[in-house]
């Protein structure tokens, strides 16, 4: 079974979020970029576990990004994977990202494609579903547990107020979240090996983006918390009713 793991680069959570050019561009100055946590901690690790247990024969990583994404691709390879593919294109429109990956992956014989539940920068979570449609595969989102036996995957996923267990035959696209695997720290051997693992750069297919971010906005500054005396919960309830109007 051949697995493709989709990796995206995102700003670190604790980064200060600021915009430049009249709020039209994200300010990358001083920002540390990391592998999207859902991709790194869950999708990639699960793929590696399936390889280690002999269920998968190969794990490949794919990123849609420009050359500045190569450091994090190497970091991902340090955890594992035989090779990485970087499709040399911008990743600002989810359809374009999905279409680029589909254009590459469609003839490569992947049985299982894993994505993270969403990227922590744009919080869309749509590439997986789009990729499945473009590759004529099924898609199971929000997996909390992934197992494969033969050509059947058994996936536990989160639904509103509970959990569902699905089975589906391969090929399949799955988006992963907490529960699928435990995050790993790359060891020295992995880091050294990553330097020489193949990182193939692929020219992008001719795909037009279908959306564009025209501007950003920061939320209004918080006006300071109103502290309430713990002995006076009636006051809090009153404020929640009359001032905040939430009860």
């Amino acid at each position: 079974m051949k697995i493709l793991v989709c990796i995206t680069q995102v700003p670190d959570t604790t980064s200060k979020i600021a915009f430049t050019d009249n709020n039209t561009h994200f300010n990358t100055q001083g920002v540390t970029f990391i592998i999207n946590p859902y991709d790194e901690w869950y999708s990639l690790v699960r793929a590696l576990e399936l390889k280690e247990s002999g269920v998968a024969s190969a794990v490949h990583l794919v990123t849609v990004g420009k050359i500045d994404t190569e450091p994090i691709i190497r970091k991902a390879l340090a955890l594992g994977g035989e090779e990485a593919i970087r499709i040399d294109a911008d990743s600002n429109d989810p359809y374009a990202v999905a279409a680029q990956i589909a254009a590459y992956a469609k003839d490569q014989g992947y049985d299982l494609i894993l994505c993270g539940k969403e990227s922590i920068d744009y919080n869309n979570g749509v590439v997986g579903g789009m990729l499945a449609e473009l590759l004529d595969m099924d898609y199971i989102g929000f997996a909390t547990n992934v197992n494969v036996e033969g050509t059947t995957a058994t996936v536990k996923r989160e639904i509103e107020g509970g959990e569902e267990t699905d089975t589906c035959s391969l090929p399949l696209v799955i988006s992963c979240q907490k529960g699928v695997a435990e995050a790993r720290i790359p060891n020295m051997r992995g880091i050294m090996a990553a330097r020489t693992k193949p990182l193939k750069v692929v020219a992008p297919a001719d795909i037009q983006p279908l959306s564009v971010i025209t501007s950003y906005e920061l939320p209004p500054a918080k006006t300071g918390v109103k502290m309430i005396d713990p002995e006076n919960m009636d006051e809090l309830v009153n404020l929640l009713h009359t001032e905040a109007k939430v009860i």
């Binding site: 869309n124 789009m130 473009l134 058994t154 509103e160 569902e164 035959s169 501007s215 905040a244 939430v246």
Partner: protein, 325 residues
């Protein structure tokens, strides 16, 4: 040139969030000078379908195929694509919930439609089709212009108040040809917590963190939640320690919620937790640590021991409810 909206139902009943989606779609249709059609799949009664007229739907298409009684993303997406093409739909609306997230991207990719996931505003039609959504885990907003001919938007639940009006939608039955491959995903088991408000739809949420000291103390939060009619949530350390079920976990790697009221008890307010709840309209923080960062993000704060403060708050809520009945 119409607008279509997926009207989700749970075993034949529409929920408030579905009315939000229909209303959103109807308002967009009005701005575009076109009609809106609601689409429901599976087992749902005609009078329910007609009722969508109260939220602005002129027409309601029902695909009654028994195989659709269980939500199946691939089949549902196929049906929506079919209807979108038949109706010449230019805008397709769904909810940004578990179901919508599985179906809408498939529809978008199939129709080569640009998509905004998690809209929190109406599209600005003056400058294209610009939709507002939250980005960077709630730290900012982005305005996204969908430039394709057909557009897909999923609406964040609990963004807009629903206004029930008058009107009856005209119900139309339709059939869609499905293949076996549309039903490859088999649901083997469903474990749902019944009798409580699902967290993602809750308007009021009571949440506990490590400051609660242990699962044995959760009854004080359960009592408060019950009195308020609120759903329960928790921070990551609490879920990791198995004090609470993981579906209660809200935060960057847990769920994202946008309730009207979020009461955080014994939660310090790390950035990763805030990422899941910073869309809440009002935040109340109860913590005995004056340095807890959460106070900076709170609307109201109470500096005190949860074990003492929460029962007092529950009693105050109870008193309020009694005097208002």
């Amino acid at each position: 040139m119409s607008v279509i909206v997926l009207a989700e139902h749970t075993q034949g009943t529409f929920k408030k969030k579905t009315f939000e989606a229909v209303q959103y779609a109807a308002d967009i249709a009005k701005s575009l000078n076109t009609s809106v059609t609601a689409v429901a799949l599976g087992n749902i009664a005609d009078d329910q379908m007609q009722g969508l007229g109260q939220y602005g739907a002129q027409k309601a298409i029902h695909i009654a195929d028994a195989r659709l009684d269980n939500i199946n993303a691939r089949a549902y997406a196929k049906a929506l694509v079919n209807i979108a093409q038949k109706e010449g739909a230019k805008v397709i609306i769904a909810l940004h919930d578990v179901t919508g997230k599985a179906i809408a991207p498939r529809v978008a990719a199939n129709l080569k439609a640009g998509m905004v996931a998690g809209a929190i505003g109406y599209p600005d039609l003056q400058n294209g089709f610009v939709v507002k959504k939250t980005v960077f885990s709630g730290k900012a907003f982005a305005f996204v212009n969908i430039t394709s001919d057909v557009k897909v938007v999923t609406l964040m639940p609990n963004t807009f108040q629903v206004k029930k009006g008058e009107g009856t939608a005209a119900v139309e039955k339709m059939d869609v040809a499905f293949d076996d491959k549309d039903f490859k995903v088999q649901v083997k088991e469903v474990n749902k917590v019944t009798g409580t408000v699902p967290l993602s739809e809750a308007e009021l949420v009571v949440s506990g963190g490590r400051g609660m000291k242990g699962p044995e103390n959760w009854h004080i939060l359960e009592d408060l939640a019950k009195e308020l009619g609120a759903a329960l949530a928790c921070s990551r350390p609490v879920a990791d320690a198995h004090w609470r079920p993981h579906y209660e976990h809200v935060g960057q790697t847990g769920g994202t919620i946008r309730p009207n009221l979020y009461i955080a008890v014994g939660i310090s307010g790390a950035i990763q937790h805030l990422a899941g709840v910073n869309g809440s309209k009002v935040i109340v923080v109860i913590n005995k640590d004056p340095e807890a960062p959460f106070f900076k993000a709170a609307t109201y704060g109470v500096l005190g021991d949860a074990m003492e403060v929460v029962p007092k708050l529950t009693a105050a809520v109870k008193k309020f409810k009694e005097s208002h009945n």
